[in-house]
Amino acid sequence: MKYTILIYETAGELGARTDQHRQPAYWGAYRAYTQALKAAGVMVGGSGLQPPSVATTVRQRDGKRQVQDGPYADTKEQLGGYYEIEVADLDTALDWAARCPAAATGAVEVRPNLVM
């Protein structure tokens, strides 16, 4: 089954991406995690996302487009990226999700992909 691992990061973690001192550890952890997914042959795809400060939210209402600065939901943890993996079952997907660096600081959500 295919699952998407949604990575929710705290403002502190998102800040580490550009912080001179914390940057190496942050990117190093994600590089190692991605490598592990690839080496196990479970990685389907995924991407990191730029921070919520550059997000734009769009709604189409009564034929009119409403465009708003900022992310869809203003929560403490923000979507920072996602991985798509293919594994046998939810339990295996949860094992992988638990190893994602954000699991220790923010939160990681696991969703089975819809089969179209």
Binding site: L90, D91, A93, L94
Partner: protein, 412 residues
Amino acid sequence: MTDDARRAAELAARASYGRLLAYLARRSRDVAAAEDALGDSFVAALATWPRDGVPERPEAWLLAAARRRLLDAGRHAGVRARARPALEAVVDEAQGVASSVHGFPDERLALLFVCAHPAIDEGMRTPLMLQTVLGLDAARIAAAFLVPAATMGQRLVRVKTKIRDAGMRFEVPGPDELAPRLGSVLGAIYAAYGSGWDDVDGADTRRRGLAEEAIWLGRLVARLLADEPEALGLLALMLHCEARRAARRDAAGGYVPLSEQDVSCWARPIVDEAEGILRQASRAGRPGRFQLEAAVQSAHAMRAVSGRTDWEAIVLLYDALIRVAPTVGAEVARAAALAERGGAEPGLAALVAVPAAVVASYQPFWALRGHLLGRLRRVDEAAQAYARAIALGEDPAVRRFLEEKERVLRTG
């Protein structure tokens, strides 16, 4: 046929149903579809087995009836079209297994671990277990948990959809994961026992508890995981409590607290069974929450032999319990034991140390507080605590008991 034989036939039907459901659900990963396939034949078994006796190959009997239902074109609407071909194949495979000379495989343990999976809402683990492993209907489960039947039905549907669509694994966890996962399974069974605890006399028909069903599940897990001392500990704990069921009410239906119970009303054979199981558990040398709770009940049970209660030992057991599983229930019970050992003052000191936020709606805290303040003749404070305990009480007999204690406090 005698009532006992009838009951045995019903239990045999439930045991076969649970084994079959586990087998079909594990292969199709679809609990709801497996239930649909087995539902009618299970109802037929519950109606005919107590009358005609349990068939020689009970699983084969149920599967033959299930197969007829799957093939009955007119009634396919109940089973979702997508699931049907896969399910038919699994039923065929199961029929082969059921008619072989070896007994039908028991995969209920894997099903129990799915029911108590951390990805399933904690409040739904017990209902799910009762429905899938024992074949109880949603209305019966709803009554025990005091929610409307339709609500319980919807919640059960939702959780089974999650099991199927999220692709949960039907497997007994490996050694690394077993202990915490088993804790969830045992906790869910104990919650079923708790649902039956407050209704010993069955007077409240809205709240027919599930104590008997919980003990049945406890026996099942203790048998399937005989090397796990905590599984044995839970069974010993439930049996110790069950042994005192008759002593918990006086002739007028009034509540009798443990310390005032007539020990001649305790069921000796059940106490002996509990003691034997707890001894077997302790041989593993791996104590845990349920073994410690059972040991507390074992210490209370000794009163029937020695005529006294060893509060020193009970305090030590609660100390150990709080180290492995700190709960408000254990903290309050420890305070009560301290008061029995060394007087109301040390008991009250331990009680007030329990964080206020967690006891706000915990009835035993307020009942004990009233009792201890009463012993110290702090009458007004005691009355306030009793009033709070009475307001929080769900069991009418316990409420009457507390009202009487409060009355005596004011007049005494």
